[in-house]
Amino acid sequence: MSDKDSKRGGITRRSFITTMGAGVAGVAASGALFSGTSQAKAPEIHKAGEAMRITLTINDHPYVLLVEPRWTLLHVLREVIGLTGTKEGCGRGECGACTVLIDDIPRYACMTLAVEAQGHAVTTVEGLMHGEDLGVVQQAFVQKDAFQCGYCTSGQIMASEGLLRANPLPSSEEIRRGVSGNLCRCGAYTHIFEAVEAAAEMKQK
């Protein structure tokens, strides 16, 4: 990559975090996960195009990776590691198809840099499985037919999982808010609400 390009593409950790905070606020739960830690530490500056060695903990497994600083967690999950259950719908924090849990909180993986996810526990839809068996929220989505094309489904499931971890017995209004950061163009919302209710009940047992 030429010098000109690296300047154009260059982004500092701090400048990214500043812009990311606004995006994350719309995701689901309250509280800025990363901005807190960034204020504590001095910003590290990395040049675009230079690979960094990082370790990500994904679904309880450590992955040692070489990533560019600008690569999103979504890109690394899908195209580098091959965890393609997490989907890309927009790449800019609009649709929620890429929702994963970071320390139990639903986050858009497209609005999270891979380097930012270091030191945090990342859970994807694959991480909800018990071996070959579906997790509780996944089972509820099957039973209630809470999807059509299935492309937003992983994100809906992760948003629901995050909601139920924080709030095991949500009201119907809380359920609607909990998945309101996740678009479903097929319009399966009605069944999604039913699935989250059912999952909450199943988790109680």
């Binding site: 690569w71 899908r78 996740n182 609400f193």
Partner: protein, 772 residues
């Protein structure tokens, strides 16, 4: 549009399938069909293990990206790729002057352009493409390619497209076509009417934006191209790519077993499909080319805007006497059905002796339309259903009663006015109104509507232009010696539950458990020909062929059983997974115990889709009802509840059926309240809201908590051997108009232009407040 030209078959040469032979009579009772059963592929879709085309990671795979014209109308003078060539990781760049990319692209109606045409007719036309080691680098390269454009005058306002000073999109001028239709005598009809009303209506351009981005993975093995494409029709993609690249059909394999939504925008291949194939050939590596969300707003289709005027005449008793309708619409920069089927409901839905329609399709410099869930119908419904309410008010009639007064039994809009095989329009309206509590709600709202929050109810009826399905379809079912089954069909499951319903048909006939049915579908290399999944015709097309294939297997099994039990073939019947001798019930044999099946290992059954009944029309019908609450101080509209009463023949799976109904209503809510393309008419002609932030889809917070689905299940033995009619499209037709009618009922404000959103409503409410 002509009666016999169906949009989802346009430009497709579908092979004929043989006659199905003996056509079984419809089921009298069912044990599997109609139940609420989870999908057969639900595990894959919820575990994250379903591989959508954009999920594929092939060995040695690289990434493509497309450079698109930033102007609505421009000529490419020069493309300098050198800055991009210098970027590490860039493998190849193709432009209009690359020999391998010198490919003709056939648009509809004889309009051809090059793959990278130097004359760009809309913002978002492909100008160049790149393959690189990773998607970031591919986008970096696209950004630094220098293109010198001659920016040309453009026209993006369809209402001004035919002005004498309007810039021309194509040399022949901006008029694509004028379609007219007439029956009876409208002048006489209006003279006979006691009430005549006329009003302009306008619906805005809507964008499909399915969740999975358009795209594919292209891979060559020698001279054979394999495309993993997110598509509604693998055979349609195969035909288009083979034509563009001049390849034999057998050298283009298209596979798309999972796909993340299309709604009409993925009925055919896109330029991106061909571009990825060329990039893959040039790099000699598999190429994944997935468009960005922004590109999907510009270049892969939309529902055209419609400028409509409807004049209607009605007698005191509610009998319609005449309907006169005009519409101007645009399919964008190429012929793309800019007014297709907008007038269909006016022609066909309610009994009316005199109807005249004229629809004008014009070119503008904007992205071409593609069929969008029930093309034309939600637009026509927006005008017709609001007009019906206006007439009802003038006559002091209940809107439900006015519609019930005008229920047809024949398809009036078609040549020869054939009878419908079945029509549940009356039942949909009557039962829907009753289940919704229509009369009580109207009464309640009338007496309590004085405060800031005002409630109102609204409804609308519908018919869908097609929805009966038909040939061709060939299905292969294999029964293995252990009683398990392989079902082979070409159709895509676009999220409607096609695979599940077809497996249920097999299970119904052969008594096999759903979990023992494996489905191979949507792959030109391994499955039979199928037309694209669209037009609400997949279930009525494929399910009868699946049933025929299963019955073919049964016949073979009974032949084997007759030999084994030494009895007449005619004396045998099926009972679950056993064959019994009718005259000696104690004599029976389990299918899997038939020695010949054990020896043979497998039985292959083939089923064909038989023809539809002659001189009859097979159509689904529906009616939807809703209640809204309007905040008269803020202009906010809250939808409190919705009910969809739909006649789509036999309900195949109640669980997926309800999901379709709710999904169609949700999409209709978007059309009514939030979705509209904005083009900058002032300075640039560019689309200004090309993302989901600025172009808002309905979210979980925009749908009512109270959603009801009320199937109106009528027997339709004539339609086909499963009695199913289409569902996916009718469920979104009357939604928007029902909402507009409810807003009127609540406020007295008639919103004739979509979307009925706050900025629009608040102006009208303020005017109303001033008038006092």
């Amino acid at each position: 549009m002509k009666n016999d030209s169906v949009y989802y078959l346009k430009d497709i040469t579908a092979p004929e399938t043989p006659e199905p032979g003996e056509n079984p009579s419809p089921w009298t009772n069912t044990t599997i069909i109609g139940k609420r059963l989870p999908r057969v592929d639900a595990y894959e879709r919820t575990s994250g293990s379903a591989l959508y085309p954009s999920d594929l990671l092939l060995p040695n795979m690289v990434y493509g990206a497309v450079l698109r014209c930033p102007h609505p109308h421009a000529r490419v003078k020069r493309v300098n790729t050198r800055p991009a060539e210098g970027i590490k990781g860039v493998l190849t760049i193709i432009t209009g002057t690359t020999p391998e990319a010198d490919v003709w692209w056939r648009n509809e109606d004889g309009y051809r352009s090059k793959l990278f045409d130097p004359h760009c007719h809309y913002e978002g036309e492909a100008v160049a493409a790149v393959a690189a080691l990773d998607p970031y680098t591919a986008q970096d390269a696209v950004k630094v390619i220098q293109v010198e454009y001659e920016v040309l005058p453009y026209i993006i306002d369809e209402e001004r497209a035919l002005d004498s000073d309007a810039p021309r999109v194509h040399p022949k001028g901006n008029l694509v076509d004028t379609e007219s239709y007439e029956r009876g005598d409208v002048d006489q009809g209006f003279a006979q009417a006691d009430v005549v009303r006329e009003r302009p209506f306008h619906t805005r351009c809507e964008i499909h934006t399915p969740m999975e981005l358009h795209g594919c993975v292209a891979e060559w093995k020698g001279d054979t191209l394999t495309l993993h494409e997110s598509t509604q029709g693998v055979y349609a993609v195969q035909a288009k790519v083979a034509e563009a690249l001049r390849l034999p059909l057998s050298r283009v394999r298209v596979s798309g077993r999972y796909m993340g939504g299309g709604f009409g925008s993925k009925l055919k291949a896109g330029k991106y499909t061909v571009i990825s194939a060329i990039l893959a050939r040039k790099t000699a590596r598999p190429v994944k080319l997935v468009l960005t969300r922004e590109e999907t707003y510009l270049a892969v289709g939309n529902r055209p805007s419609s400028h409509m005027t409807l004049k209607a005449g009605v007698k005191k008793d509610g009998t319609l006497t005449a309907l006169q309708f005009t519409c101007t619409g645009t399919g964008g920069a190429y012929p793309a059905g800019g007014v297709a089927l907008v007038d269909w409901l006016i022609r066909d839905l309610y009994t009316c002796p005199s109807v005249k329609t004229e629809c004008r399709d014009v070119f503008i410099n904007a992205g071409p339309a593609r069929p969008f869930r029930a093309p034309g119908h939600p637009q026509g419904s927006w005008a017709l259903e609001q007009m019906m309410d206006e007439l009802a008010e003038a006559l002091h009639m209940d809107p439900v009663d006015l519609r019930l007064k005008n229920i047809p039994t024949v398809s009036q809009g078609r040549t020869g006015q054939p009878a419908y095989t079945s029509t549940g329009l009356k039942e949909c309206i009557e039962s829907g109104a009753q289940s919704f509590g229509w009369k009580a709600a109207r009464q309640r709202n009338k007496s309590s509507n004085t405060g800031t929050l005002r409630r109102g109810v609204g409804m609308g009826g519908c018919v869908w232009f097609v929805g009966g399905g038909g040939p061709p379809s060939t299905i292969i079912v294999k029964l293995f010696k252990d009683g398990s089954v392989n079902l082979n069909m070409g159709a895509s499951d676009i999220g409607t539950g096609t695979k599940t319903i077809m497996a249920m048909v097999v299970a119904e006939e052969l008594g096999v458990k759903l979990k023992n049915i494996q489905i191979e579908n949507a792959d030109t290399g391994t499955t039979q020909y199928a037309t694209p999944s669209g037009g609400s015709k997949t279930v009525p097309t494929e399910s009868p062929a699946v049933r025929n294939a299963a019955i073919h297997i049964k016949q073979k099994l009974m032949e084997m059983a007759a030999e084994e039990l030494d009895c007449d073939f005619e004396d045998l019947e099926f009972e679950g997974d056993e064959i019994i001798v009718s005259s000696r019930k104690e004599q029976r044999i389990k299918i899997t115990d038939i020695p010949k099946l054990k020896k043979q290992g497998v039985i292959v059954g083939v089923g064909y889709r038989g023809p539809n009944p002659e001189n009859k029309s097979v159509n689904p019908f529906g009616a939807q009802f809703c209640e809204v609450e309007v905040n008269t101080r803020t202009g906010e509209v809250r939808i409190l509840r919705f009910l969809g009463a739909h006649d789509s023949g036999r309900v195949m799976n109640r669980l997926t059926y309800d999901n379709q109904v709710f999904g169609g209503i949700t999409m209709g809510i978007g059309f009514a309240l939030t979705e509209f393309r904005v083009l900058d008419t002032g300075q640039t002609g560019k689309m200004v809201n090309r993302n989901w932030h600025d172009y808002k889809l309905p979210t979980a917070l925009d749908v009512p908590a109270d959603m009801k689905s009320l199937p109106i299940e009528l027997d339709d033995p004539e339609a086909n051997n499963t009695g199913a009619k289409g569902l996916g499209e009718p469920v979104t037709i009357p939604t928007a108009a029902a909402i507009a009618n409810a807003i009127y009922d609540a406020t007295g404000i008639r919103i004739t232009e979509t979307p009925a959103f706050v900025p629009h409503l608040i102006t009208r409410l303020n005017d109303l407040a001033k008038e006092g």
